[in-house]
Symmetry: C2
Subunit: 478 residues, 2 copies
């Protein structure tokens, strides 16, 4: 472990921004391979520190390695650079000089890791992978929920950087609340990523934006992830949907940012009864930390004892899964009381009377990462889709939001409080853009240009005089 | 003029987000044509309210119309949507459903206009053009420096929207300091653009980021725009460079965000003497407002009377141009005193002893929109370029930063305080991205998809299963 000043100084000196794309792609692949190779050592440490099952943790390592390799592919493909060249044109107003634009790394960045994904959103997780891919050295703030795992992962990551021929100073770890604050306030830190609670994320966001020179803060905070069942879906597939819901909201003890936290079901459908059929088979292990366990217990008790609520419980276990049923009228009367993210195996089933009441209730939901619709193929769900699209970054159909695929077309974000920076994503190819800033060279001698901005072909997609060209296309200048 | 609540409500109801790309492109072209058509009416109003010359204002209308037409082209080309489709793949970890991603408009946005470009960065200027292009209705906060012009421009813009078949509610004007604050705090406003002073921009930024649900604030604040002359350039082209500098820093009375505010020249070169040759021919008219005039006079007097400074003056005029010469030692001793943006026809010439001292001085410069190098063709300026690239969004060679071309490869931004959101630009094609947020559809019925995400071809560049394809390419699914 380093102190903050030392870590940021090391990051500055690492020279990562001068590495080539191929060097960084290889480094990401080397980290992925090393993570894979240390699987049998790492899973038991993670299991002991987080209580997550070994099977889940093993799968999470696979996912984390896949993320690292995905960003290696993004870096090699090169369109993330948005390279663009415009010839001079003295006839425009104002006259146009020769302009060559590219995205460049911001500089050293801070990554605040999550508790619930000790691999995929932690030391070598998605924020770190995308920042290293961009060419930004990373100072990781360890999550106190898995300190030993964090230390082993940083060693693995640093060794892999060295093995790939890069300076290991580009990846360091700091620990402790005060170190996190100091890191975020450090004048040489240019941006920060965060995954965690709304309260914690807001506190850090406030530090970042109130600095003398504010920096971008990419936080993924809280999300209710509303689910809507149409009358037809509830009627025709109620049992299947109920089974899917129980599996989704109790998965890994409900500790997903994409857990379905509120389900709108037609009052006529008796959907909660169907859910109750599957609850006895649902159990949940201990939550990640004692603090989370006690916060879950307190909020669950507060909601479950409300007069408007009918409670159904899963199997008695370390953390007993809970389904709270209530009429939409009660939700509409006290939305702030009920529409709170509850981290753990609990979901609300809100019975709506008609579409007008459903839409009124949806309007009260704050921003989420996801919104889900269960409907039958012949139904017109365009109005419902539009409603959810205003409130969630991913709208999905006849499935469950947990399990965020790694893909070019993925988006993991949404309006506040789902994320602090709604125009960005923390998963998917464009997550790299958070760590990049444009730079335009005007009438520059070719000796100072990055290779991707030289006359071509240079092996990446580029825009030449306004026309997008695929990799390998000859540079045709008008 | 409307009150804020009315304006935001109108924006919400305008339905602009449901317009087609072609409708918005036509609307932008209609606004451009109408602006062109009202040229003879608008120039005198602007001249009376801003003191800028009629020739300059006439050229600025041409520029503003070109910006509007440029964004019409960006909208038609369609790659700004970043449309992407990934087929389902159950073999990945986690399994990948079918994902279709696009950027969608954020919703109603606020535009705080600038005083120094009463057309190009005002009511129908770059922020408004890019936001309308994105599909975001705009509530403009008028600049008090040109109220009558603002009112005429909003009428022209609204009439053009109607003429193009869109609802004029998508573009409204509010006036006054309190209205601006109320607008920025309005829960339905999703983002804001701003061009102006560092003090004003910081105050508004603070409001935006400290809301209960913060919003993106894209501000372009202050910029020193450092210029560096190498020894060789100063020796061989000193007179030419001096002439160019005088023209640039006195252009329109030095009221450009890209005005060269500090010039680093080799102490051996006597560059300030060369500049002095051209100063007698330089005169400047009255500044935009009386407040600016008095702030300029106060700061110019404070700097000019400093013991370390040698003053050279231009022609006695409404605002007398000033060149302040000082040794780099003095700058290094008191950087905060000297490195302040001075809005008006004033620039510093800082004489540096050697490269080490030059780099030490550059390190003290805060973020700028531009950095300029004057060097000879055979010189190695890669180190100097890297230095400036860390501090400025556009690095230019053997030219002057004033006059920002409209182009795909343009970048108008930079580290704080040049802009509040360093990963974005306020000029150039990607300025549209500030008003867009990603949305991913997962396993969606085609009836709810936007046309650009249907199976193709759909006439825009898209990424299909990770592969970028140009417009018109057939959709090939693996």
């Amino acid at each position: 472990m380093m102190n903050v000043a030392h870590a940021v100084d090391a990051a500055r000196r690492s020279g990562l921004e001068h590495s080539t794309r191929e060097q960084r792609a290889l480094a990401l692949e080397t980290i992925a391979a090393s993570l894979d190779g240390h699987r049998t050592e790492l899973v038991p440490i993670a299991h002991r520190e987080t209580h997550l099952s070994e099977a889940r943790l093993d799968g999470e390592i696979t996912r984390t390695a896949a993320q690292l390799r995905f960003f290696a592919g993004v870096v090699r493909e090169g369109s993330y650079l948005e390279a663009s060249i415009d010839s001079a044109d003295p006839t425009t107003v104002p006259p146009r000089p020769e302009l060559r634009r590219i995205l460049r790394p911001l500089g050293p960045v801070a990554v605040f890791t999550a508790s619930n994904f000790p691999f995929a959103f932690s030391v070598l997780g998605n924020d770190t992978a995308s920042a290293l891919a961009a060419g930004c050295p990373v100072v990781v703030k360890a999550h106190p929920g898995h300190p030993e795992l964090s230390r082993r992962c940083i060693e693995i990551g640093r060794a892999a950087l060295l093995e790939a021929g890069l300076d290991s100073s580009a990846l360091t770890l700091v620990e402790g609340f005060e170190a996190g604050r100091e890191l975020l306030e450090h004048v040489e830190i240019r941006a920060a990523g965060f995954t965690g609670s709304e309260a914690g994320g807001r506190a850090l966001y406030d530090i970042a934006v109130n600095r003398p020179a504010p920096i971008p803060f990419y936080g993924e905070l809280g999300s209710l992830n509303p689910v809507v069942l149409t009358v037809a879906a509830a009627t025709q597939r109620g049992a299947d949907i109920a089974a899917g819901l129980v599996a989704s909201f109790t998965r890994d003890a409900g500790q997903y940012c994409t857990k379905p936290g509120v389900v709108f079901a037609p009052a006529v459908g008796r959907f909660a009864d169907a859910v109750a059929e599957y609850l006895p088979g649902a159990a949940a292990g201990a939550l990640l930390t004692e603090g989370m366990q006690s916060r879950f217990a307190a909020l669950a008790a507060e909601l479950a004892t409300d007069d408007a609520v009918t409670v159904r419980s899963g199997a008695d276990s370390d953390t007993t899964p809970l389904v709270l049923e209530l009429p939409a009228d009660a939700l509409l009367a006290r939305p702030e009381h009920f529409l709170r993210e509850c981290f753990g195996p609990l979901t609300l089933i809100v019975n709506y009377r008609d579409e007008a009441q459903l839409f009124a209730a949806l309007t009260l939901c704050e921003g989420s990462l996801t919104g889900t619709i269960h409907a039958e193929p012949d139904e017109d769900v365009s109005g419902l889709t539009a409603h959810l699209a205003e409130r969630a970054g991913r709208v999905l159909f006849n499935g469950w939001p947990t399990g965020v695929a790694i893909a070019w077309s993925q988006h993991h974000g949404g309006p506040w409080p789902a994320t602090t920076a709604t125009v960005h994503t923390s998963v998917g190819a464009t997550a790299i853009r958070r760590w990049l800033t444009p730079l335009t060279y005007q009438d520059a001698p070719h000796s100072v240009l990055p290779s991707e901005l030289l006359d071509g072909p240079v092996g990446i997609p580029r825009r030449i005089d306004g026309l997008l060209q695929l990799a390998g296309a000859e540079l045709s200048r008008g």
